[in-house]
Every structure is written in structure tokens, then in C-alpha cells.
């Protein structure tokens, strides 16, 4: 493995973490959108809010991490992606701003109209932001981002069959992950009826995702033959692993085994991302720019690596503790009693 590949691998670990944690976070917002009317959806919304409130800012640090590594270690690739795909990237950034501020502001207002407006902003931006990010991935994966600043078409690079597929799959994956995670959270809080609702949603979303995935193969064969060849060739074992993990997750969900279902679901999503990486190796931007060509000079890569290792030593234990802390029911606060729940 070359130095550039080591740094790129660490960036890709960050991308996977963003896919899993950020994805579940967006998905929570999507289910908030679909939870139904003010009164009917109140309990689901409360569960979602309870699950993502402690970590929604931490989740999006992964995206910042990916961007910083990309522009430091692979400045040419970053410049090409950021300038050609600036429209979906800007829209995704707007979505994150609207999402974060609406989520925070919603807590501080008490009037129903204002709460509905902010809640809708939060939920709607949770739906569109992963779509734009998936469209970016589709543009890169289908080779529509040539090297050079703004060298690609700023419209067709993200409005094309592969980008639409990427966007739809991203939204579905977010919704699926969130539903699986929320099952476990609801079950732990003793709200098994809620857990069952989200279990059904997870199963249905998985079914739709599977269908879109199968249709997607035909889309890729027609629109991105190189990626299709990579996914069905060198990356075939990884894609197969994703399918197996996905099926296992469904079986576990059907049997209400929520914790192993989480692990299997995470593995399925991870394998799809890794499959994309294996499929287009050794290119960072197909079909022109390889990893080695895109890499910054040795001094920058070494500096990046040192910073990553030092940062990981400080950050990873803190993050693990944060996630572990909020997976535990709080000792001093008992789960909501039947009486207070009935009022809601």
C-alpha cells in the first residue's frame, strides 16, 4: 500500500462512518416527515428527537473530516469535484444548515405554527440532503467529473441516470438505517409498539431498496459501463457480501433481534460503499485521474497522516463514549410512564 492509499483508506473510513451515522441521522428526519399529523406522530417524533438529539452534530463532523482529508491529500481531485459539482454540494450544504438550525430552533419555540414550520424544514431538508450527496457520488462514480477546475458540465454531472440512482439509494439507505436503529432504541425504552412500527418500516424500506438496487444494475450497465464492470467483476465478492448481510438483517429484524440486525445492516451499507471503491480502483476520478496522480506531495501526506493519528487518539475514545452513553437508558430518568404517554 502506498502512502497515498493509506491516507485515502482513512478518508474512506470517515466516509463509511458518515454513511452510517450521518445516514441514520438524515433517516431520522425522513421518518419525522412521514410520522403523520401533529398528534398522531407525536410519539414517533419524540423517539426520533430523543435518539438523534445528543449526536446530530457529532454525526456531521464525519463529512467535514472527509472534505478536509480530500482537499489536503488529494487537492486536484477535490478541486475537480467541488467546482464541477458545486450545485448539488451547495444545495446539500443549504440542506444541512436548514436541518441543523431548524432542529435546534424547534426546541425554543412553543407556538404550534412555528414548531410545524421548523419541524417541516428539519424533515424536508433531511430528505433532500442525502439525495444531493448521493447524486454527487453518482456523478463521480459514472466518470462525469474530469480532472481540472470546473472542467465538467455543472448540470449533467449530477442530473443523469447514475446520479438519480445514487440519490434515491442514498435516501433509502438513510431511511432504512434509521428505522433499524430506532427499533432498537424504542425497544430499549420499553416502547415495543413503536419498535414494531419501525420494524415494519425497516422491512418495507429494505424491500424497496432491494428492488431499486436490481433496477439500478440495468441503469449502471447502460449509463456507467465502467462502474458496472467493476462492480460485477473485481468488486463482485464485496457486493455479494452486502446482499448476504442485507438478507441476514431482514431475517434478524423479522425475529425482533434488533442489536444483531443493526450490525448486519451496517455491514450491508458498508459493503456497498467499499464495493464502489474497489470497483473504481485505482482511479479517484474515472477514467482519468489515479490515486497516485491526484495525491499531494509527500510532505503534505505525512503531515496529514500525523494529524490523523494524533486526532484519532483524542477523538475516537470521546466519540465511542458519547455513542455508548446515549445507548444507555439514563439512570435518574425512568422511561416515560403509561400515564404521561397517554396524554401525549
Amino acid at each position: 500500500m502506498t502512502l497515498a492509499e493509506v491516507v485515502l483508506s482513512m478518508m474512506f473510513v470517515g466516509l463509511i462512518a458518515y454513511g452510517l451515522f450521518g445516514g441514520a441521522d438524515f433517516g431520522g428526519g425522513i421518518w419525522d416527515l412521514l410520522a403523520g399529523g401533529t398528534r398522531r406522530g407525536a410519539r414517533q417524533r419524540e423517539l426520533i428527537e430523543h435518539s438523534i438529539a445528543p449526536v446530530w452534530e457529532a454525526n456531521h463532523v464525519w463529512l467535514i473530516f472527509v472534505l478536509v482529508v480530500l482537499w489536503t491529500a488529494f487537492p486536484g481531485a477535490f478541486a475537480a469535484v467541488a467546482s464541477t459539482l458545486y450545485i448539488p454540494l451547495t444545495l446539500a450544504a443549504f440542506g444541512m444548515i436548514a436541518r441543523g438550525s431548524a432542529f435546534a430552533f424547534r426546541k425554543s419555540v412553543t407556538t404550534l405554527g412555528m414548531r410545524r414550520f421548523l419541524g417541516a424544514s428539519f424533515a424536508l431538508s433531511s430528505l433532500v440532503t442525502p439525495f444531493f450527496l448521493g447524486a454527487v457520488v453518482g456523478g463521480v462514480a459514472s466518470g462525469r467529473v474530469p480532472a481540472g477546475i470546473a472542467a465538467g458540465n455543472v448540470v449533467t454531472s449530477w442530473i443523469n441516470p447514475t446520479s438519480v440512482l445514487g440519490g434515491v439509494l442514498a435516501v433509502l439507505a438513510c431511511a432504512y438505517l434509521a428505522a433499524v436503529f430506532l427499533c432498537g432504541d424504542a425497544h430499549r425504552d420499553g416502547a415495543d409498539d413503536l419498535a414494531d412500527q419501525f420494524r415494519l418500516r425497516a422491512l418495507r424500506t429494505a424491500g424497496v431498496t432491494g428492488l431499486v438496487g436490481i433496477v439500478g444494475l440495468f441503469v449502471l450497465r447502460a449509463d456507467a459501463p465502467r462502474l458496472f464492470a467493476g462492480l460485477t467483476g473485481r468488486a463482485a465478492p464485496v457486493v455479494a457480501l452486502s446482499v448476504v448481510a442485507g438478507v441476514a438483517a431482514l431475517v434478524l429484524l423479522a425475529g425482533r433481534r434488533y442489536v444483531p440486525a443493526r450490525a448486519a445492516s451496517a455491514l450491508a451499507v458498508t459493503a456497498i460503499l467499499v464495493g464502489w471503491a474497489v470497483g473504481q480502483y485505482p482511479y479517484l476520478l474515472v477514467p482519468e485521474l489515479t490515486i497516485e496522480e491526484a495525491a499531494a506531495g509527500r510532505a503534505s501526506l505525512v503531515a496529514m497522516l500525523v494529524a490523523l493519528v494524533v486526532g484519532a487518539v483524542i477523538l475516537v475514545p470521546a466519540l465511542v463514549y458519547l455513542y455508548a452513553l446515549f445507548q444507555r437508558p439514563t439512570a435518574e430518568q425512568p422511561a416515560p410512564t403509561a400515564a404521561t404517554r397517554a396524554v401525549r
Partner: protein, 289 residues
């Protein structure tokens, strides 16, 4: 790809003066801003212990740092004179290279000359070289297409220095009263001055950023990359700019709205504290959801 030298780029000659100058500026903004909130409260007649402490602690903090900032300002100006003569000439509105250069305050630059400025003889040479007859390079030494916009930089610089001097005076009055009388000044004029000091500190800091960023033009990387060559050629970028402006105006309005609401009922839970809310409130709020 060019083999960049990240450490050399990060630790250039202006790194330490810039870092220290900005850190002190941030602390001053914090201190004066918090103090100004309590000064307004005291002007409205709330003079109990909480308001007095709320003014005293941040003001003492900011007042102690302000004289230090003056010294750091001298340090950074000397660094600029050594490394970026064009920026210094624009800051001072100095066109001709002069020995014993005067310090010009205010004025407008046109026809290669600064008009209507208040001049302190030999002031600039004294400040830059610590010698009244030192030679200060003027804009005439710089090729025409490498000169920054003089008026913006010079007036922003004067704004920063003027407000900084006013904050220094405020700090001195405060320090002197504390030293001689063992109490803080409480006259209405002093409180009014503290009440505007927060805004003054913010404006001074922003003016400083205008000096350093506009003063570097036309370069985005000094002497290496011009701003016009660095901008993305992608079409339609201005739409994104307008959108950003609209979004930030909306966010600012929302923030002000929410902060005013919180000021009226300060016990509303912050997002992080949602679990700590007492259950009765929870029920009440859930009903309006």
C-alpha cells in the same frame, strides 16, 4: 503536482503576530460584549450584585488585555512593514517613499495623494522604525496593478486603531479608578461607554480583518496567486452567492427571534437538556405540538 511545504506555509513570518493579535481580539470582543450587556442593565436601574459582577469580571478581563493588544499591534505592523510593504503603504495611505514620514489619520486617497488627512509629523517613521527619520516605503514602489484599494484599507485601519484607542482609554479610566478608589466607576457616562464598547470591539475586529484581507489584494496568496486567477470559472456562481446572503439574513432573523424568546422565558430547555426537563412541562409542551 508541486511538492508543497505545509509546515513552512503554516508557520510563515506573520503566523505568530497574527495568531496572538486575533486571540487577544477575540478575548476583548468577549469581555467588552458581555460587560456591555450588564452595563445596559445597570443603566436601566438594575444595580444589584449580579449586574455589578457581570460587568466587573468581563470588563476587568478585557481592560487588562487591551494595553497588551496595543503592543501586539506594534509588533504586527512591523511584521507587515517587513514582509508586505504594499499593505503597509495602503494602511497608512502613504504614496511617496519618505524619510521622517508623518502618521496620517483619516483623509481620502486620490490622484496618488492622501487629501484632508490629519498628519502627525514623523509619527509613522517613529512607529515603524522606532526612529523619527526612518524611511518608509510608499505605494509608488509597487507596480500599479499590484496595489491594493487604498481608501478601503486606510479607513478600515484608522477605524480599528481609533476604536482600539477608545477602548484603551476606557480601560485606563477603569483601571485608574480601581487603583485609586478601590471601586469601579459607576457614572452614567462610564456605563454608556461600556454599553457601546462591545459593538466597538466587534467593529474594530472586523475592520482589522478588512485591513488584512483587502490589504493583500490583488493577491489571494501574496506574491504567488492573484485573486482573479483563483476564482472558479464555473458558470452561475453568483446565484449561490445571492442564496447564501438570503439564507444568512433569514438565519440571523430567526436567531434574534429565538434569543428574544429565550430572554423572555429563560427556563426553556436547550436542545442538549431535553431529557432533563421536568415531566409536567413536557406534557404541557407535548399538548401544543
Amino acid at each position: 503536482m508541486v511538492d508543497a511545504q505545509p509546515w513552512a506555509a503554516m508557520f510563515g513570518p506573520s503566523t505568530w503576530p497574527q495568531v496572538v493579535h486575533m486571540l487577544l481580539a477575540a478575548y476583548m470582543v468577549t469581555g467588552f460584549t458581555i460587560a456591555s450587556v450588564y452595563a445596559v442593565g445597570m443603566l436601566r436601574g438594575r444595580r444589584e450584585r449580579r449586574h455589578r459582577l457581570g460587568l466587573l469580571i468581563p470588563l476587568a478581563f478585557a481592560a487588562a488585555l487591551t494595553p497588551v493588544q496595543v503592543g501586539v499591534g506594534d509588533w504586527i505592523a512591523n511584521t507587515v512593514a517587513d514582509n508586505q510593504p504594499a499593505k503597509l503603504a495602503a494602511m497608512e495611505g502613504e504614496y511617496e517613499t519618505t524619510a521622517g514620514a508623518p502618521l496620517s489619520v483619516g483623509g481620502l486617497h486620490y490622484d496618488d495623494e492622501l487629501h484632508y488627512a490629519l498628519e502627525i509629523p514623523n509619527g509613522l517613521s517613529l512607529l515603524i522604525h522606532h526612529d523619527p527619520d526612518g524611511v518608509v516605503l510608499g505605494l509608488e514602489e509597487i507596480p500599479v496593478d499590484e496595489r491594493p484599494p487604498v481608501n478601503v484599507v486606510h479607513l478600515a485601519f484608522d477605524t480599528m486603531v481609533g476604536l482600539g484607542t477608545a477602548l484603551l482609554l476606557l480601560s485606563l479610566v477603569f483601571g485608574w479608578t480601581w487603583w485609586r478608589r478601590r471601586r469601579m466607576p459607576e457614572s452614567r457616562w462610564f456605563l454608556r461607554a461600556v454599553a457601546v464598547s462591545g459593538v466597538a470591539a466587534v467593529v474594530a475586529m472586523e475592520a482589522g480583518w478588512i485591513v488584512t484581507e483587502v490589504g493583500r489584494q490583488p493577491w489571494v496568496v501574496y506574491g504567488i496567486l492573484r485573486t482573479e486567477d483563483a476564482v472558479s470559472p464555473a458558470p452561475g456562481l453568483y446565484l449561490g452567492f445571492y442564496a447564501v446572503v438570503v439564507i444568512y439574513v433569514l438565519l440571523t432573523a430567526l436567531t434574534v427571534f429565538v434569543l428574544r424568546r429565550l430572554a423572555r422565558s429563560p427556563d426553556t430547555a436547550a436542545p442538549q437538556e431535553v431529557d432533563a426537563r421536568p415531566p409536567e412541562r413536557d406534557v404541557g409542551e407535548a399538548a401544543v405540538r
